[in-house]
């Protein structure tokens, strides 16, 4: 005979059933194992060092520019001592941190930057150009160069700036894919290069320098790709878990098993609570496991990392409830999951490009979570320094989770 059941006992029974349903589904199991194995393995192979060398195209070659300038400057009355300073300003001789690829022809450099011409460097350092569209073969024993940005100086640049001539124009060529901030950095670089040549601020005409935030000067102490990617790997776990959870919810709704459950002493609140607990702890558990495997629990402020991971788990569970209530079949499920989660992943990708967190990226609900994780993982963020982000994340969490609960409750009530 049945007897009154306590609410915790009902939720416990529902959780037991959720675990059984989860463990019986091959797709969920496959996705879970895939994430738990693939992410730590991928992490292991990520580079642990950072190349601090900048590769830059320049035309004409700096040495020829200096040689040409010497005669003119001598004619203008420059002393041998002053001319020797020009050699010190030869950027092509400075190996550390800068690799110049010098082009005789500005048009060629422009085509290489555009991608209509390929630049290759042979073992002996010779630059070879290949017109792929014209059917030219790849040069043997040569390495293809990836050039996204180049600087074209006027032929008489040094002489003109030394003479104090106004209206000298330096052109910075940049591939469309290069972020605006990097283009701005290059502009600053040209300004600095010109300053080095002339020894003073020059009246060089260039686009106004962009205002960019470079953050802490970490020369020699760069954050490796491995470290940068940790928050994104964590988000991949949450993404997969969102899909699995949404599928569980959707199955329950589409097969109307929820209706059978709700004509027992179970209330809709018990049902939603069980889904929330299960979704959150599955995400959190897997997130913790991945964190452990990628060394994320050894960071100084690990309690902050755990708190943020918990908030992310609840947020994504809310999303799963919403998606689960919306999807009508497996494909619909996949569509809605992608529709909602891909935008939420953008902040995780943005951490790979310092300074690229535009205002619209900061407006994405997951940004404060990623921001706090990046801070805790890589920059020693503390509770007090992360308070703003945590409050912002909490506001988004309440909104998204509330939307998920509301959508599922309404769906179940109208079945």
């Amino acid at each position: 005979m049945s007897r009154p059941t306590s609410r915790p006992a009902l939720v416990g029974a529902l959780l037991k059933k959720e675990l059984k349903a989860y463990s019986r589904d091959k797709i969920y199991l496959f996705l879970t194992l895939l994430v738990l194995i693939a992410i730590p393995v991928a992490y292991t192979f990520l580079p642990t060092t950072v190349s601090e060398t900048i590769t830059l195209a320049v035309s004409p070659p700096v040495t020829s520019m200096i040689d040409d300038a010497k005669d003119s400057l001598r004619a203008m009355g420059a002393t041998d001592e002053q001319l020797a300073e020009l050699d010190n300003a030869d950027l092509s001789q400075q190996q550390e941190g800068l690799q110049l690829i010098e082009f005789d022809n500005e048009a060629d450099m422009q085509r290489v930057i555009e991608g209509t011409l390929e630049a290759w460097r042979t073992d002996d350092g010779e630059l070879t150009l290949r017109d792929k569209e014209a059917g030219e073969d790849e040069p043997e024993g040569a390495e293809k160069l990836g050039l996204d940005i180049g600087i074209a100086f006027p032929k008489d640049f040094i002489t003109d700036v030394a003479a104090g001539k106004s209206g000298v124009t330096v052109t910075v060529y940049s591939d469309a894919n290069v972020p605006e901030e990097i283009q701005g950095a290059m502009t600053s670089f040209v300004r600095e290069a010109a300053y080095q040549l002339a020894g003073r601020q020059l009246p060089v005409n260039m686009a106004d320098e962009q205002s960019i935030i470079l953050g802490t000067d970490r020369v020699g102490d760069q954050v490796t790709l491995k470290d940068k990617l940790r928050p994104m790997l964590l988000f991949m776990v949450l993404l997969m878990e969102t899909f699995s959870m949404a599928s569980l919810v959707s199955t329950e709704v589409l097969q109307r098993t929820v209706t059978a459950v709700l004509v027992t002493p179970v209330k809709i609140g018990d049902f939603l609570l069980a889904k929330t607990i299960f979704g959150t702890f599955m995400s959190l558990g897997q997130g913790l496991l991945v964190l452990f495997l990628v060394g994320g629990l050894t960071v100084q402020n690990w309690s902050l990392v755990l708190t943020v991971l918990f908030m992310g788990s609840v947020m994504f569970t809310g999303l799963a409830l919403y998606v689960g209530a919306s999807g009508k079949d497996f494909m619909g499920q996949l569509f809605y999951t992608m529709l909602f989660t891909i935008p939420l992943l953008i902040p995780a990708f943005s951490v790979m490009f310092p300074g690229s967190a535009a205002v619209w990226v900061r407006a994405i609900p997951t940004y404060p979570i990623i921001d706090t994780l990046v801070g805790a993982f890589n920059y020693g963020a503390t509770w007090s320094s992360s308070a703003g982000s945590l409050a912002y994340a909490a506001a988004w969490l309440v909104l998204l989770f509330g939307a998920g609960l509301f959508a599922l409750k309404r769906k179940v009530e109208t079945l």
């Binding site: 049945s2 009154p4 059933k17 059984k20 098993t257 027992t264």
Partner: protein, 287 residues
């Protein structure tokens, strides 16, 4: 007379502009089976949804075991068993696991799920996952799930719909057993034979309204013809004769035919429930 287990007074429900149930009133006593007979879309399932707490009536009052269903009282839910029209079982769980899970929701610690499965003939497949069950087996699972808490009130929505005669007969047998145990049963169906065989009383529902409510016997007497059909040998063929029992001289004619050496069969011509339904509503039960 005992208090009704189900007591419904003028309940109504509408989906937007569509009036699904209109001022429906009836009651079901403990141990009684009330057959809710009507075509698809007549309002049978909506009535069950209201009585099981899945949706609230827009007007009227309904009580289960004396308690208002809108009170959302877990005590009511603990006493009811529901067999839905959709086979909403957990397909990735076995039959036994399905029953054990629902038993746990009713707070039944030592549920004899195996015995319940045995009653519906599924004991030998108890540990197989439900997705491997046939349609008939799933329907028997639905019935067994409705029985797991030994309910005082049973709502059975089209329990034998689309099943073969053998499975249907087995399910009807278990429904009768539940009523004999004392459960009040509200059975919706559009199968007149099922309603006739199982129901103590029958309610005809059409376009959301109850158009007749009585025992099947009374309905047949009230709306059917009192006549017999006599079949007689006629040379190499067969001849039929219909005799109105209330007409003058009908008894003498019947006695005469009964004594005839050509007599083959005599059948009463009472109305079927479907014929009465058509007479009352102008439409059939399969619509």
């Amino acid at each position: 007379m005992t208090a009704p287990a189900i007591q419904v007074e003028s309940i109504s429900f509408n989906y937007g502009d569509i009036q699904a149930v209109k001022n429906v009133t009836f009651d079901v006593q403990p141990g009684e089976i009330l057959g809710f007979l009507g075509p698809n879309g007549a309002g049978k399932s909506t009535t069950i949804k209201m009585l099981t707490g899945q949706m609230a009536p827009k007007s009227g009052v309904a009580r289960i075991l004396g308690k208002d269903i809108t009170a959302d009282d877990p005590e009511i839910q603990a006493q009811i068993g529901v067999c839905f029209e959709e086979k909403n079982l957990y397909l990735n769980m076995s039959g036994l696991e399905n029953l054990d899970f629902f038993a746990s929701l009713f707070g039944i610690k030592d549920a004899d799920s195996m015995e319940v499965l045995r009653r519906v003939g599924l004991a030998d497949r108890a540990k197989d996952r439900v997705h491997s069950y046939s349609k008939g087996m799933r329907q028997r699972m639905m019935i067994s799930r409705a029985f797991i808490n030994k309910p005082t009130v049973l709502f059975l929505d089209e329990p034998t719909d689309g099943l073969d005669p053998v499975t249907s007969a087995a399910i009807r047998k278990t429904i009768k057993e539940e009523a004999e145990r004392g459960a009040a049963v509200l059975l919706t169906t559009h199968d007149m034979f099922e309603a006739d065989e199982l129901s103590d009383r029958v309610a005809f529902i059409n376009e959301g309204e109850i158009v007749a409510l009585d025992t099947a016997e009374n309905l047949k007497l009230k709306y059917g013809k009192r006549s017999v059909k006599v079949r007689l040998r006629d040379g190499d063929g067969v001849r039929e004769e219909h005799i109105e029992l209330e007409g003058d001289g009908s008894s003498a004619r019947l006695a005469e035919l009964a004594a005839s050496p050509d007599l083959m069969t005599i059948h009463t011509e009472e109305a079927t429930l479907e014929a009465i339904f058509i007479e009352l509503t102008g439409r059939g039960l399969e619509g």
